[in-house]
Amino acid sequence: MDEVILKLLDLSKSFEGKKVLDAISLEVKEGEAVAILGKSGVGKTVLLKSMVGLLKADSGHIFFKGVDITRLKRKDLFAIRKHFGFVFQGSALFDSMTVYENIALPLEQRGLGRDEINIRVKTVLELVGLPGIENLLPHELSGGMKKRVGIARAFVTQPQIILYDEPTAGLDPVTGIRINHLIGELNRKRNVTAIVVTHDIRSATSICDRIVLLSQGKLVVDVHVKNIEKVEHPEFVEFLKSAKIQEVRNDKK
């Protein structure tokens, strides 16, 4: 539990001269659930995609279990990504494939047998509460269903860490709670490390152990969820107010 699974060291990234990430350093331990909070357009997704090498950082290092992935060759990077799961904001399901094919694809690439693939696909679909939809195409699914299939695809390979990009964005509150519950279950019961990018502090507090706040390219807050009331940073307080958690905080005072 105490072993560091992912470590960012002085990570910087600019787009057309504008610095989006400015010397970010962060450590995530095995089994931990960390929320990266921040306003829209602040660079949360850039940070998340940099963690798996989808975006190349201008400077700094990213260590996965001690291996610096910023220095890896293309082939080795693909190999190390097999330890990651990634849930995209828009689900990113493959349009031309059925739900079954979407979830089975990473398993087929790993060379698993058909029987094993069938069992795993069935199991994860039951886990995300969507049994029996194997033959549907992505356009036949609702937004919430797509998100859950996306989670199933990320989890089916039994990764050590799953990165979630705005998992509840654009969903109704009931579906959002269901997704949060699922992420929490994968983290706590299956011991899958979770990094969740969100601008919804209620999601962050319900899923995660730790919350970090990204503001103007820097991580300005790093706090355990038990201590969020003690944070004085104005932007963080603003988030708390927006979620009406501020009222609870005042009551406690």
Partner: protein, 251 residues
């Protein structure tokens, strides 16, 4: 400004060849991409048959009329079949098929891959541990290399047949005379040179369409730009390659 644009073009050319290299290296995983390859063979080939047949039929028919008009003052109509067949096998069949494919398939590839790029499906492949170059682009390249020559053979056959029928109906030229003319002046380099051209054109259409879609950004607008870029660049490159291949093969 000009230097900046020049650097941009050179960068694109460099990235294009790196992407093609990565795609070709994916050949070691050919078994894993068999489903996508079959899908692309169907998209490239089977689905293009009606369009290529229609276009080449009318091209062959008009070729008869035009050639007859052009040679009537200095050559007997007996040479009509030879003239039309040479034009079709060397130039019209390969180039016309390639331009149709650039419009239909090149645009389709760019739109599909562009949409996959902007909806993060290509990122999703990378995270799964699949190299998108080998998984998405290689099947399209193989389909292009196989299907464009096959469609060119179809186009040649339909155009020459259409030409023969019109020669009989309008110019009262007997089938036997028409085909005798083809037989008398046939050189295999004309047929195989045309097919060699179509192999190169197939690569150009698949590669340019794939690269164009692969680098798409800026949402729906970006996909639109990628599609237009694919059709324009692949059509112009086909015409340019046609000239150089023509010089090498027949010059």
């Amino acid at each position: 400004m000009v230097i900046k644009k020049l650097i941009e073009v050179i960068t694109h050319i460099g990235e294009f060849f790196i992407l093609m290299k990565d795609s070709v290296l994916g050949v070691t995983n050919l078994y894993k991409i068999r489903k996508e390859l079959l899908r692309q063979l169907e998209f490239f080939g089977v689905n293009s048959i009606p369009l290529v047949t229609f276009a080449s039929l009318f091209t062959g028919m008009v070729s008869s009329v035009q050639t007859a008009y052009q040679i009537r003052d200095y050559a007997p109509l007996d040479f009509l079949g030879a003239g039309v067949a040479k034009a079709v096998m060397v130039e019209l069949g390969p180039v016309l098929t390639a331009l149709i494919m650039a419009g239909r398939v090149g645009a389709g590839i760019a739109a599909e891959l562009g949409t996959m790029r902007v909806t993060e499906q290509i990122d999703a492949l990378e995270v799964i541990g699949i190299d998108p170059a080998g998984f998405l682009i290689l099947p399209r390249l193989i389909a292009g290399l196989i299907m464009v020559p096959l469609l060119t053979v179809l186009a040649d056959f339909v155009a020459i047949t259409g030409s023969a029928v019109i020669s009989k109906l309008i110019l009262d030229l007997d089938f036997s005379v028409f085909f005798q003319g083809i037989k008398l002046f046939f050189h295999s380099i004309e047929l195989f040179g045309g097919l060699l051209k179509s192999v190169v054109f197939g690569f150009i259409i698949a590669a340019v369409g794939s690269y164009s879609g692969y680098i798409a950004k800026e949402g729906a607008v970006g996909v639109g730009k990628a599609t237009t870029r694919a059709v324009v660049i692949s059509s112009l490159t086909v015409l340019m390659a046609d000239y150089f291949l023509g010089v090498i093969l027949y010059g």
